[in-house]
Symmetry: C2
Subunit: 368 residues, 2 copies
């Protein structure tokens, strides 16, 4: 099939087994499919140790649908939400809050600076009207890791609620809902769990979800309605993406067999270290300092050489079998390379070789 | 795999080729995937002859997400919407309008009565404040076909706008946007096109869509934003269900090769006629008169025999390889059997044999 390796933050390269799990049609009313959904949800809660306090509500659509559903369902009308902003996905949360009619209070950080728990605490102290904080864990726009445990502590100490977009971190970076006060954690099928895209999910605190009846701006994205219906019937309210759910079941099986979160983090960590080290050897500069880099996706400065042009670079690397990802920064010219998916250092080494060969072909010399 | 045949209105049984199209991972930024999306959208407009006037906006999620997106994006705030109601999916539209804060005017019909164009015309005449009509084409709750061409004519004559939920009819029942005044037609991947579930789409009048900037209640379901972004970049705004899109491309190829809408209608018509005739031979009664029955899904009265119980009936038929569907009527005890999917009269004959054998096993004698 001449299928390239995706070095992108989802959709990503999945195993053949995961894709083969889609070679079957499932009835959405059937017991076997209901059992599949229930087992997926149980595992999704377990991965972040939320069994005592949290429930999983799966939702059709991309991760952004689940983020909007969580904010729309769990934040009461007229609330004021603090959004520590260091990237594109923080910005998207602000945009969603605008649609929902919630007041967003932006706390800006540089794209290359982690959200600072002390400044978050100060912002909450300064404005008692802020009821919620919406925090991105790993900002896919740059690959920066925000210090979630400390942020959760500060938010709880201030007596406010915390909603976390864990899209790019869930499953790879440790998250412990048993010790970290979080009302809702949002992620999706096609990220570090290495499923295929098409389904998001929200791990919500049961007590908060129960209180959220009638709050949603949307029927399709009403998590309270989705959950109560599922509790009653075992079924999704509206047609589920059955093949995507089956692929996720298979991907989670492989995730658990690999050793769960620690094993996944170790593999991605190796991928990232190899990528960064090989790219630096070629002369590339990373956008972030190593200390704040999550092993999920790495942003590199575009070479400041007139022979470099991203689209040509992309296509030449793609011809060699690797799909890169464009940058998402408006002020700095960058591109991104993902470390996640069913790949290991072998693919990363081949990819950096392909990138090196492409630089030679294009005559790009000045890299830093 | 011991996979049963799904006699359900979606998810349904798809061909192996359609499922095998999911054995590849696609980059959502990649030209090859953008081309896939563009070709799918072009075909979806072409199937209903909307090339001159309409555009296709694909949307992540189930069909209901697309229905809500169409109502949320295309109906301006504060509008009054007439909903001819003869079933569960009409009822769902009323529920969505409630979430959106639009005033829904319900025009009730019996579950076994098609929506009457004359009564719709009279309702519009009686209330000039009604700006839109939201009409279900084939009501999946019972399988009834509403007379869309006449309804479209009446709505246009009254100078109102028409939005059509064509979830169960699109691709099988003829729809000609070249002659029928419709602002938006909504359907999904996993119905009569025989793709897998996970994507809806709206075929919207270009001029109406252009005027809809800023109207949506939701970022994720903002069709204007989705369309303008796609026009500019060729990409979906948020992670697309890549495998579902690839499966739909493959399913549409097979649809066109089979002979398009006329061929699909002919096959489903044969399936339906065989189903109804064999079930009547067993003694079952259809809920609808034949004249208003769409060849999509057939509702049968539950046998009024104390030996009959749906869940046992369902499981016994399933053991024989066929998945039935429960009824969706609150006042009458029924069950449903779908005629759609990658099946023909061979499967229908085997299914009705399995149903006949199950009646004998259960000792069900009184059927009508």
């Amino acid at each position: 099939m001449n299928e390239p390796i995706l070095l992108t933050p989802g959709p990503l390269t999945t195993t053949l087994a995961t894709k083969q799990a889609m070679l079957r049609d499932w009835g959405s009313w059937d017991d076997t499919f209901n059992a599949l959904t229930a087992s997926v949800c149980a595992d999704l809660v377990g991965i972040v140790h939320g069994e005592q306090t949290h429930v999983c509500i799966p939702l059709q659509g991309s991760g952004t649908f689940a983020v909007e559903a969580a904010l729309g369902t769990l934040v009461p009308k007229g609330c004021k939400v603090l959004v520590p902003n260091n990237g594109a996905y923080c910005q998207r949360i602000i945009r969603i809050l605008g649609y929902l009619g919630h007041e967003a209070v932006e706390l800006p950080f540089g794209d290359d600076q982690p959200a600072d728990p002390a400044r978050i605490g100060a912002a909450l102290l300064a404005d008692p009207a802020i009821s919620h904080v919406a925090q991105v864990h790993c900002e896919t726009g740059t690959g920066i890791l925000n210090p979630l445990p400390k942020i959760a502590q500060v938010v709880a100490q201030a007596g406010r609620r915390l909603i976390v977009d864990a899209m790019s971190s869930y499953g790879a970076i440790p998250i412990d809902l048993g010790t970290m006060p979080v009302d809702a954690l949002i992620a999706a099928s096609g990220k570090c769990l290495e499923g295929v895209p098409g389904m998001g999910f929200v791990i919500a605190r049961r007590s908060v979800l129960i209180d959220a009846a009638g709050q949603s701006h949307s029927l399709a994205m009403d998590l309270h309605d989705q959950w109560t219906y599922m509790q009653r019937t075992g079924q999704w309210r509206f047609t589920p993406p059955t093949h995507v759910v089956a692929a996720l079941r298979c991907a989670i099986d492989q995730y658990l067999a690999e050793g769960g979160q620690p094993a996944r983090l170790a593999r991605y960590g190796e991928n990232c270290a190899t990528l960064v080290s090989n790219m630096r050897r070629l002369g590339f500069r990373t956008f972030l300092d190593d200390a704040m880099q999550a092993p999920i996706i790495v942003t590199f400065h575009a070479p400041p050489d007139h022979a470099y042009e991203f689209v040509e670079f992309y296509h030449r690397v793609r011809e060699k079998g690797f799909v890169l990802y464009p940058g998402k920064l408006t002020t700095v010219d960058t591109f991104r390379v993902g470390c996640i998916g069913a790949i290991d250092v072998t693919e990363i080494r081949r990819a950096t070789e392909a990138i090196g060969a492409t630089l030679l072909e294009m005559g790009v010399q000045k890299l830093g």
